[in-house]
Amino acid sequence: MTNPPFSRGFDFSRTDQAMTLEGFSETESNGRWSDGGIARALLHNETEWPQTLEIEIEASPFVPTGGGNQSLTISVNGAKQADFAFGQHLERVRLDIPLSLDRAATKRSLEICFEIDNPSKPAKFDMGEDFRNLGLFVHNIKVTGHESADRRNVTNPYKGLPSHQFWRRSISAVESFRVDPVTDPRFRISQNARVGTAGSCFAQHISRRISAAGFNYFVTEKGEMCDEQERAANNYGTFSARYGNIYTTVQLLQLFDEAFGTRIPTEAAWVRPDGRFVDPYRQQIQPNGFASEEAVLADRRDHLKAVRRLFEDTDIFVFTLGLTEAWRSKEDGSVFSAAPGVVAGAWDSGRYEFINLDLEQTYAALEEFLGKFHVINPNAKVLLTVSPVPLIATYEPRSVLVSTVYSKSVLRVAAEKALKQFDWVDYFPSFEIITGSSSGGLYYEADYREVNMRGVSHVMRCFMKHYIEGFASEPADLPREMATNDSMSGIICDEEILDRIRN
């Protein structure tokens, strides 16, 4: 009895196909261009591939007049299958690759590699301002064969879903530094867009990288009166305004309300053991403290003005949710940046209380903030992230690790709820990049708390790739001269070196 036919198509004009692409340009109306000397398509299948199959590739080559012929080598699963040569520009061709797979390979994704011999930039041939290195325009790929008897008629709701929805394809199948969980950004940030930041410590990394990359990191409280050293010491520019770390959504909401005059906190200044004064809502903003309560209030007035300007004028507001634990005034409900008595002030159980915000409290504050922010700045977008930095301490009588997971879980769900409720809010998964099992814990410093530069770099690679307009989604093309077709397997070290390593 003949097994039933197997047929699976991959449409290169769509973004929802079960394939992972590298070296291809963005989707066009009827396919995609290869961009560079090598392009690769990883075709996924929920079940197994037939052992004997035929790969049909519908494509059109880039053969500009005066650019010479185009030739192409196709490899599947690392083994060369066929060479093709083309002489006619954009001629629609069908490339047939018959293939036999061993049993193990039927269970893996099919890896089709296109080595383009002569990729060229259209701009070089007066074909418009297109500086991509084009070689082959792939319309679609069809894999046909005969399904093995034991695998036929298998169907399920996951069939046809894109690769990023499958762990094996998008996480297991790539090197850990290339894991990229960002799939469908709701907006992109242009070079000139004003990007404001606030949140926990992790948001500082984003501020620094945005600024270093030459983007418009929007700072409304710059400390122009200080020299550079003083500015850094006094936390000017750490965030868009000098609010220090804003750990909880309640803190963010109360700052917004105070800045726009709908809230006046009861407590104005606290005294430190050294007699200096601090602002209770940003206690470590000025290491030397303030000389008097009046000085605290005067600086706070300037600060609130800067906060107002930030919320009114920013184009993008990046907020990193950090904690759910906080210390609150029983009198007016104000939340402080540190417990009374830690940096300044004095602990008084009659006046202050510990709170650990639950999901409803966390989201209520976030929702209210977002609603109010949107009223005063309706065109602004918000990008939410959750800090991957664990709690330094918990006041709950339990392990700090357990409290950390609770806190981060609440914050993550709150961000998800905001994402569902507001279409101008997006969620960026820096938390997942750092804490995901694919990172193996390697993105933390030796204290397992601080995120190291490798982790920050991974996060920022994904951020820049998906959110920054005009940022190349892949590294620059490899210049042709840099490509190696052979391995230099025959390189022999100097005799003296060989002597050293012969033991």
């Binding site: 070296g23 690392g78 850990s176 590294p475 391995s487 397997s489 070196i497 012969r502 033991n503």
Partner: protein
């Protein structure tokens, strides 16, 4: 031990490490690693021993350097390409003078940027300014991972060695190459395991991974900006013929001293690297 089956590994600098790794995975075979230069230092002796081996793991890249007829003495042969992988060290090139590989402060390894700058008459301090991320990007140094990964997987696959899965893990924590042609020992160990399986044997599990003999040779720096894009921590510290760390300033300064001691124009890139070096130089 006498009467045990014997296998031979012939390659270039990876021979000893690969031989040790294969040995660590089979208990009923004696495995010997032999680099091609040692073979050719006493071809008569090693030639006479060839027939005592039942299997030869041979790097095809050095096969032509063996005396004629030697390979045929061992009919059961397995091709094992050497691991050559540039993404961690894209600036590393080979130079030669009068047809001989030129030795510098990093042994056979030179910097394309340093050489290019020296050739254009620049000073050491001007040269150092080119060691930065944006220049590497312009040179294509950040774009090597995918094509090199494809090439290496394909090259091994052509010999029946599947390294697609292990390669994903090799660089998880740190670079898996000391230089473009010297892999870390765990890379050779994974390849050895695959080679043992290909002989229809089960690799011994839980044994010791042999020492990393290639660490005794020069180790080229993984520049921090390059390391950052590959998920590892880089530095501008080179390891020379001892463990004394050599920084970028010393490396470039000593490279210039050596280049300057030869007649002008007599140092040229190794043939395979000519276009590569030209490509970097045009950005200087």
């Amino acid at each position: 031990m006498s009467g045990m089956e014997k296998w031979l590994v012939i390659s270039a600098c990876q021979a000893i490490g690969l031989g040790n790794c294969i040995q660590s995975l089979v208990s009923d075979v004696i495995v010997t690693g032999l680099d091609i230069a040692l073979f050719n230092s006493d071809p008569k002796r090693f030639g006479n021993e060839m027939r005592s081996y039942s299997k030869l793991f041979l790097n095809p890249g050095v096969a032509h350097l063996l005396p004629p007829g030697e390979i045929d003495k061992i009919p059961d042969r397995v091709a094992v390409p050497a691991v050559f992988f540039r993404p961690y060290h894209p600036d590393l090139v080979y130079l030669e003078c009068d047809g001989k590989v030129l030795r510098g402060p990093q042994g056979d390894y030179h910097s394309a940027i340093a050489y290019g700058c020296f050739s254009k008459g620049m000073s050491v301090s001007d040269t150092l300014r080119y060691f930065n991320g944006s220049f590497y990007e312009r040179c294509g140094y950040m774009s090597l991972w995918i094509p090199e990964r494809e090439r290496l997987i394909g090259e091994m696959a052509a010999s029946g060695i599947d390294i697609a899965d292990p390669l994903r893990c090799w660089g998880r924590n740190r670079a898996f190459m000391h230089s473009s042609n010297h892999p870390h020992i765990h890379v050779l160990h994974d390849i050895a395991r695959e080679l043992v399986r290909m002989q229809d044997r089960t690799p011994v599990a839980g044994g010791i991974i042999p020492h990393d003999n290639l660490q005794l040779a020069e180790c080229f720096a993984v520049y921090p900006e390059i390391g950052e894009t590959l998920g590892i921590e880089g530095s501008y510290i080179f390891k020379g013929d001892t463990y004394r760390p050599v920084d970028l300033i010393e490396f470039v300064t000593k490279s210039f001293e050596i280049y300057g001691s030869f007649p002008q124009g007599s140092i040229v890139p190794y043939a395979h690297y000519k276009e590569y070096v030209d490509s970097v130089s045009k950005h200087l």
